[in-house]
């Protein structure tokens, strides 16, 4: 049973460029969320996708956009990269939306993509 997978593992970009990160959810999961983790901080929620629609969004600018495909995989796109976008980007999946308060609400995280903007 494959867990959450993300690609690429590492990425180096320059300011102003655009980047696309990819995520495949854990088998049986249909909800995907993206988080940004800056160095020394806890992960911050970017947005969540369910049934190919963005359901919730955190406090991130429109430069951050996403997509969910019919097979539940997801992409995170960031345009006009800034130095401050350098971070670990984490994808999480779960099998229930909205949350029911049961153990099935557990979110599982992928290994992350480390983005460096120069």
């Amino acid at each position: 049973d494959a867990g959450v997978t993300q690609s690429p593992t590492h990425l180096i970009k320059t300011r102003g460029q655009q980047v696309t990160l990819r995520c495949s959810p854990k088998s049986g999961h249909d909800t995907v969320s993206w988080y940004q983790q800056a160095l020394g901080q806890g992960p911050q929620f970017i947005f969540q996708y369910y049934e190919e629609e963005e359901r919730q969004r955190g406090n991130f600018p429109d430069r951050f956009s996403g997509h969910q495909f019919p097979n539940y995989s997801s992409e995170l796109n960031v345009n006009a990269l800034l130095l401050g976008d350098s971070a670990l980007y984490l994808c999480a999946s779960s099998s229930s939306f909205p949350f029911s308060g049961r153990a099935g609400d557990t979110q599982y995280f992928g290994p992350g993509t480390r983005l460096t903007v120069l």
Binding site: G42, P43, Q56, L90, F99, G101, Q107, F109, P111, G112
Partner: protein, 108 residues
């Protein structure tokens, strides 16, 4: 939104020692998770524990939802326990709010 506070921010343990990590949250929740982030950045699920007590090997967790706190216990610590421990609570739509984490270093 819900505020999540973790203490202590840093913890240095000698191998074999026991420790307690604390997570306070500002509002009632029906979803709380503990994670261990290894040095490579992978967030590993430890417990889904909105209330009550659970144990998994040398780790155990207790959440007292009515008093808005959760505790993670590490017993007989090993060097592999090193890393950052996060607690996170979710709103009804699944958005996880993380604490700032507790950095644990276990020395041989």
């Amino acid at each position: 939104g819900i505020q999540v506070e973790q203490s202590p921010p840093d913890l240095i343990l000698q191998e074999g020692a026991n420790s307690t990590l604390r997570c306070n949250f500002s509002d009632s929740v029906n979803n709380l998770q503990w994670f261990h982030q290894n040095p490579w950045g992978q967030l590993i699920n430890l417990f889904y524990i909105p209330s009550g007590t659970k144990q998994n090997g040398r780790l155990s967790a207790t959440t007292v939802a009515t008093e808005r706190y959760s505790l993670l216990y590490i017993s007989s610590s090993q060097t592999t326990d090193s890393g950052v421990y996060f607690c996170a609570v979710a709103d009804s739509w699944g958005k996880l709010q993380f604490g700032a984490g507790t950095q644990v270093v276990v020395t041989p």
